[in-house]
Amino acid sequence: MSSRLAKEYKNVAKTLRADQSFSHVLSLGPCSDDNLTHWDAQIMGPADTCYSGYKFTLRIQVTDRYPLEPPKIRFAPFSIPHCNIDFDSGRICLTLLEQEHWSPAWDLLHCVQAIWLLLANPEPDSPLDVDLACLLRAKDYSAHDALVCYYLNGGSHGSRSN
């Protein structure tokens, strides 16, 4: 399916250039031109959230069976505190990226967009970071935001030292 990836690459470049509604996606493309199975993306944290003003890197890996199989997408390790993201590995809990919810009609830009939306809309009921999820469930948003901010600014806490 590498021809599909090549076409996606072209489409993505065009969309990012032309469509202002994707201005939060700073870049999305293969790491090198001769291997289309590894992509990198850079996104800006959504405005009006505790992630606003920060840049995040996504690592995307596409298997041979793409688009029948979803791409594997992670944040760079130790880069983002979020209740649906494992801080140490950058693993993301998002149903869209699971095989049973994936659809081959989606592309990598859709995935990046969905992940960006997840940053603004955390889902504390299926957490990968229990501490942040507990704060959200208790509706203690100021504590949640403060904790996120602490990590984003390189705070150290046990294995999460940055």
């Binding site: 399916m1 021809s3 996606e8 688009p67 199989e69 081959p104």
Partner: protein, 297 residues
């Protein structure tokens, strides 16, 4: 010209396209059937609406996806035109698992699978086994199953199954496949072996049918030329007057068509053979022969 793209592979939709009737979204037959096989449901990837009927755009054949999805999938993998064979779509609402037809090494399936384990029923490509043999450096490794180490059997050997007496129509495939039921437990060697046999038989039958279908297409095209020439000839006296009788017309048509198939090796190749001219010559020859023999009588 529409320049619609298949939402799965992003290549342009051409004659191989098909349409889900419940939501009107279009895909390549191969792409959508692969996805249905992978997702184990019949939802449309674009709108998630479950779909039951699919129309193949070129032939406008309608396929019932709920009935018999395993075989439909298999058919679309092997030869798309075969799916239009009458009978494949009707009968039996049992589904059928095509898992038992995947190569145990590469996971692909298709008609070229040609080895099966006599113990657990796993099937393999011969080429995969050979590659494995080279990789592990064990020259005997292509003789035994990777799963259970039982001896393998290759498809050149005769298949000892209940295949006798089944003719090559779609409905008999349906009946044969319905016997291989889903969720089937590998309790004993014979039943597993039976399933593998059935799978093989099914594959070879499908191959044969698609070959026949292709052949009949060639024949039809050749016949068209013959018929046209015959119609022209029948208007020309004196030899053409023979052709006014229907029997004579059919006879000459058959004989000349058969000669033409042989001449072109059963393949229609208009670029190397001028069928109209050849047919005209053969028809005249045939008519003259007949004139002679009837003169003698």
């Amino acid at each position: 010209m529409s320049c619609e793209e298949c939402p799965i592979c992003y290549d342009p939709l051409d004659a191989a396209g098909c349409r889900l009737l419940d939501c009107d979204h279009k895909y390549h037959l191969k792409c959508i059937r692969r996805w249905h096989h992978q997702s184990q449901d019949l939802k449309c990837p674009t709108c998630r609406k479950p779909s039951q009927l699919l129309e193949i755009m070129e032939s406008q054949a309608i396929v019932d996806l709920k009935k018999f999805s395993g075989v439909n999938w298999l058919l679309s993998e092997i030869a798309e035109p075969v799916i239009n064979l009458p009978g494949v779509v009707e009968e039996s609402n049992r589904s059928w698992s095509s898992r038992s037809l995947e190569c145990g090494i590469c996971g692909d399936m298709g008609p070229e699978i040609n080895a099966a384990c006599t113990g657990c029923g796993m099937v393999y490509h011969d080429r995969c086994l050979r590659v494995l043999q080279l990789e592990v450096g064990n020259m005997g490794s292509n003789l035994f199953c990777c799963n259970c180490h039982s001896p393998l059997r290759s498809s050149e050997e005769p298949i000892p199954s209940a295949s006798a007496g089944i003719n090559a129509t779609g409905s008999s495939i349906a009946a044969a496949v319905a016997r291989v039921s889903p969720g089937y437990e590998a309790v004993n060697r014979d039943t597993v072996w039976y399933e593998v046999n059935e799978s093989w038989r099914l594959l070879s039958q499908l191959q044969q049918e698609s070959r026949q279908l292709a052949e009949s297409n060639h024949k039809r095209k050749i016949q068209n030329h013959v018929r046209r020439v015959l119609h022209l000839q029948s208007r020309e006296a004196p030899l053409g007057s023979q052709l006014t009788s229907k029997d004579r017309f059919t006879d000459v048509n058959k004989i000349v068509s058969r000669q033409l198939y042989r001449l072109s090796g059963n393949i229609y190749r208009p670029e190397t053979i001028d069928y109209d001219q050849e047919a005209a010559a053969l028809v005249l020859n045939e008519l003259a022969n007949f004139e002679e023999t009837s003169d003698v009588h």
